[in-house]
Structure formats: C-alpha cells, structure tokens
C-alpha cells in the first residue's frame, strides 16, 4: 500500500544536551524573616498611633473625618506611580490580575512597610503571572518613593492601599 523512498540528506544532530546542575543558593524575593521584621515594626507604629490618637483635639478630629484624598492629591500620586510602573507586557489580559498593596508611609512619603494583601497567591502553583505583576508593582513603589503625598493630614493617608490593575493596559 505505502511506498517509501529513503534518501540520505544532510543529517543535523543536536549536540549533547545542556544539563541543569543546580539552583544554587536560591532565595525567594520575599524573605520571610524580613516580613516578620516588618510586621514587628508595624506593631510599633500602631502603638505610637494609638498614643497620638489619645491626644486628638477638636480641630484635628475634623481632619480625620475627611476621608480619602482630594482629586488633585489622588491625581498627583497616580501620575507619579504611572511613571514608575513598568507593566510586564507578557501578561495575559484575560486573567484576574489585581494586586492590592497596603502601604504604611512616613510623613515625607517614604515607605515604612509594604504588604501584598493576597500574599498567599504569590507562591501558589499556576499563579506565576500574579507573582510577576506583584513584583512589578513593588518595584514601582520602590522606584517612586518618597511618594507624592499631601503635605498635610498625615493621619489621613499614613495607611494607603494601592490597587494595581494592568488589564486596561494589556487589553490595549
């Protein structure tokens, strides 16, 4: 039924394989010891905050009640972070890729602590895209700091949550 014709042409053999011999001294980007240190630090911060809130005066209380940033304050912060965030262009636009990072800030806008709220997703199998996006968001924060925060009302914005969502850009 079948007819086979054989011809010697130019054989092309792949050289001996490349062997991966080790992943030496592999450390995760997120050092658990470091996170523990940061958590301890945040406790200190909370304690200090409680002390100061004990002394809240009437005039300061008015500031506390004003929640959120004004539009121009928010725009200034966004514009700064937009410039620092290199979106990993290889990410699929269809996946749920929202990275929420909670920041504790100093009055000058530098970051005391950054915490990924869905940290458990970072090392889950099949969540490599999330990890890549989270790392890019953290890089953006580090690159941008001190953040462009308002000059007044520290109590209002000392805790800040940034929600990084690349879908709009990736769908482009």
């Amino acid at each position: 039924m079948k007819k086979i014709e054989e011809k010697k042409q130019n054989p092309e053999k792949i050289e001996t394989e490349v062997k991966q011999v080790s992943e030496f001294e592999k450390k995760e980007l997120f050092d658990p010891n470091n996170i523990a240190a940061l958590i301890d630090k945040s406790k200190e911060e909370v304690a200090k905050t409680i002390q100061t809130t004990d002394k809240v005066t009437q005039s300061q209380d008015k500031n506390v009640e004003r929640t959120g940033l004004s539009l121009s304050e928010e725009d200034a912060l966004k514009a700064q972070i937009f410039g620092c965030w290199s979106i990993p262009l290889g990410l699929p636009y269809k996946e749920n890729l929202l990275v929420r990072i909670k920041l504790k800030l100093k009055p000058d806008g530098s970051v005391i602590k950054s915490e990924i709220l869905d940290h458990a997703r970072m090392n889950k199998p099949g969540q490599s895209f999330y990890k890549v996006l989270a790392e890019s968001a953290l890089r953006a924060i580090r690159l941008c700091q001190p953040l462009r925060v308002p000059t007044t009302g520290y109590e209002r914005w000392k805790d800040l949550q940034l929600n990084f969502d690349a879908r709009e850009m990736l769908e482009g």
Partner: protein, 456 residues
C-alpha cells in the same frame, strides 16, 4: 451594692472601649487608590559580562577560538532580551562594578544609579573539559536575588547556554515560558526568481548556526516541525508530483508520506506528533486527510466539493482550523478533529488563508489578502477580536513561537521593471503588533516553522 458598682465599672470600661474603637476606626479609614495605567517602555536590565578565571579563558580559547566566552554568552542573552521588545538591555559602558564582584555581591546602589531594575550576573568555568555556567538574576530595587541556576555542557553548546539563560530570565520576569532555546526551519532560496534553488535549512531562532538539510536538487516547500521530536514534514516533488515528505533531522532519512494517487500538500503534525494532517487533491477537489505515523492508517476528515486546505490542530488536538472556499471565497473554518461540526469563523472583508492555532490555544493566526495588500493577523478561536498585526506588499505563512507570543513569517519585495530587486526574508512580530523585526538569514528565506523548546 458591691455587685452594682462592679457592673457600673464594667459598663464604663465597655463604653470607653467602644469610643476608642470608633475614634480609631475613623482615624484608620483606609484610602484606596487604583493604579490602572503604567509605563509601557521596556524594563531596563543590566546584563553583566559573565566572569571567568584565567585558566578557563585559556582553555576555552584553545577549544572554541573565543577570547572572552563570558562576554559572548552575555551578548547572546542581551540580544535575545532586546529582540523581545519587553526589555531594554543597558549599555555595558555604564557598568560600574566588575563582573566577578557583581556576581558575588552586587552593589545595588551602583546599578540603581544607571536605572537598572534587573541585573544578570554569571560565571563561566571549564571543569573536566565541560563548560560550567552559572548565573544569577537580581531585583535591583528590592536588592534581592530572584534566580540562581548552573548548567554544564560541552563547550560547543555555549550559544545554547545563552538561550537557556534567557528563557529562565524571561520566565521569571514575565511569568510566561520563553522561546529562545528553539530553532527555526525554513526554505533557503538562492538564484534569480525564475530559477530559484530551494533548500531546507535550520538555524537557531536568532539566526545563528545555519545548516542545510537538503541538497537543493528538488523543490521544497512548507516545512513544519514535529512538536515532540526532531522530525519535520514538508512538501517536495516525487515523480513530478508534489508530495508530503517526512525527514528525521538527526539521521537525514526522508520518506514519502502515504501512497496517494494525486498530490498531497500543506502538511502539519498533530500536537502529540503521532499524526500528519494534510490536503490531498484529486480531480480539482481538495480535502483534508490524516495519516497515523505508527500504523499508517489514512483517514479522510473533510468531504466537500470545494478546496479545503491548510489544516492546523488546536493544542489539545480536539479541533482543527483550516481554510476553504466553500462559501465562494477563501475563509477560515473550525471543526472537531473527526471532521464534524464545521463552523466558519472569519467574516471580514478579503480572503483568509494559512490559519495556525496558537500553542496557547486562545488565538488563530492567519494571512489575509484585502485590496491587493497582505496582512498577518490574529483572531480568537470563535472568529471574534480580529487584529491585523502587520501589512505589506506580499507576506504569508505565520508560525507561532512555542509560547504563543511571537509570529515568524516571510515577506517578499516587489521586482522592478527589469525583473530585479526581488527578495524574500523572514520577519517576526509579537502580539502587540509594535515589535516587528527581520530575522537574519544568510540567503533569501521563506516558509518558516518554529520548533518547540529544545530544553523542555
């Protein structure tokens, strides 16, 4: 009385606690800011030359005639990263730290100064006549190591090591597999347009290490890689009839596929590499057939009095896309792999051909001819979301990189009035449509096909 007093105390304490909590709640109302835009410029990355000791340098020079193997490997990595359009390798002149010290302990402040966000360092040694290459990827802003891997191989494999390093770095920074340790098979063309010599050729994806697989005695067309091994299928001529052939790249043995009474063409492997799907034409009709490579059983998939051709399997092997003129014009169709449930998916203006299913499964790439211009585009598997990535005088035959992010295709230039000026070259474009590049080949080239990752 005492009990009442205790109750009052408790109540007072509770009230104070609630007030304190309320005050604290007000003070800590969390401000949320949505960051939905960013910077689309490529990530600045520093690829430090790989360090090497003197003894290894001398030995490598003796074997490979290369003076500084560390710099050469880092150059392979750098070029690969640049080609992606996702990374911006920084100029080495700006590096402040020596390669060996940077590999041991980078001074992150120095790398931040030149705006690097990622850093690649490494070391090359010769151990027992083998090349040992280790590399580290660093997050400069976090001042942390992200990846550290070592490889050993024969010294002549040094370019492959560069490609594998790029694959690892790319995957760690983008979250998707790379496509650098791969090869492209294509038709190398030489001579005037009317008298072309066409040979099958294979090269690394970056255009290096070109080898010719056939001698150029017969015309060859449409070579396609087996996704699972080093076999290829292509079209050549047997007794003046175009026929589908199989070629084992490693042994050089080739054979005709099946015993069809007419011409067979447009071959492609199934995703498991066990079948060939192709067109068989007879009496002006062309239908799609498969042949099982183990038992050689031939199966007819379409049966329609129109031209059905260019079949391509979905990555799970359950569906096939192909083109057909059954509607009166050449359009793209999708059917189940047994030939049932045929659905037309392209409805745009113009003619659609050479559909190829993405290895990721989500898109189908195609060539489109509309108003005398050729386009390479992609659409979703239901035909929605058509995007034309590139337009030219003549271009066709897209083939996917194994990660489904880049397409390689060929483009021909117009001949002038004297019949000169014709050329055919390979080009690549990524899914953004912005990163279009020519793939370097020594000769003219057409019909490219991208292999799977070799180091999988």
């Amino acid at each position: 009385m005492q009990e009442k007093c205790w109750k009052d105390e408790n109540l007072k304490f509770l009230k104070t606690l609630i007030i304190l909590l309320l005050i604290q709640f007000k003070a800590y109302a969390l401000i949320e800011v949505d960051i939905t835009r960013g910077n689309l410029s490529p990530l600045p990355v520093a690829v430090s030359p790989l360090a090497s000791d003197k003894k290894s340098l001398v030995e490598v020079e003796k074997i490979l005639k290369i003076k500084d193997i560390g710099s050469e490997i880092s150059l392979v990595v750098e070029n690969n990263l640049k080609q992606t359009g996702l990374f911006n390798p920084l100029t080495k002149d700006a590096f402040l730290q020596k390669p060996d010290i940077a590999h041991f302990k980078p001074r992150f402040e120095d790398w931040k100064l030149i705006k690097a966000q990622a850093l690649i360092t490494g070391k090359v040694e010769i151990i027992n006549e083998n090349l040992r290459v280790e590399f580290r990827l660093w997050d400069v802003l976090a001042a942390k190591e992200m990846l550290a891997i070592a490889f050993t191989t024969v010294p002549t494999n040094w370019r492959r090591v560069g490609h594998i390093i790029t694959d690892k770095v790319y995957e760690r920074l983008t979250g998707e597999k790379g496509y650098f340790d791969t090869r492209i098979i294509y038709v190398a063309e030489e001579g005037p347009k009317t008298k072309r010599i066409k040979k099958l050729a294979i090269m690394d994806q970056d255009g290096f290490n070109v080898k010719y697989l056939t001698l150029g005695n017969e015309l060859v067309l449409t070579p396609r890689f087996n996704p699972t091994n080093q076999m290829i299928t292509y079209l050549s001529y047997f007794r003046n009839l175009p026929r589908v052939y199989l070629l084992d790249i490693e042994t050089g043995i080739q054979e005709v596929v099946g015993d069809f009474p007419g011409m067979t063409f447009a071959p492609r492997f199934s995703p498991d590499g066990k079948k060939i799907i192709m067109s068989f034409a007879s009496d002006g009709n062309s239908d799609i057939y498969t042949m099982d490579l183990e038992n050689r059983i031939v199966e007819r998939i379409t049966n329609h009095p129109s031209i059905d051709t260019s079949p391509s399997y979905s990555p799970n092997g359950r569906y096939i896309c192909f083109n057909s003129d059954r509607s009166g014009y050449q359009q793209i169709y999708v059917m189940k792999s047994d030939g049932s449930n045929v659905k037309r998916i392209s409805f745009g203006r113009g003619l659609y051909g050479t559909p190829v299913w993405s290895p990721r499964g989500d898109l189908i790439a195609f060539t489109k001819l509309h108003k005398g211009k050729f386009y390479i585009g992609v659409m979703r598997i239901d035909g929605s979301g058509e995007r034309l990535l590139t337009e030219n005088f003549y271009q066709e035959a897209p083939s996917w990189s194994p990660n489904g992010r880049v397409l390689v295709f060929y483009r021909e230039t117009k001949t002038d009035e004297k019949g000169e000026g014709f050329s055919a070259k390979l080009w690549s474009i990524d899914l953004t449509g912005y990163n279009e590049r020519q793939v370097r080949t020594k000769t003219d080239a057409s019909d490219p096909s991208w292999s799977s990752l070799l180091s999988n």
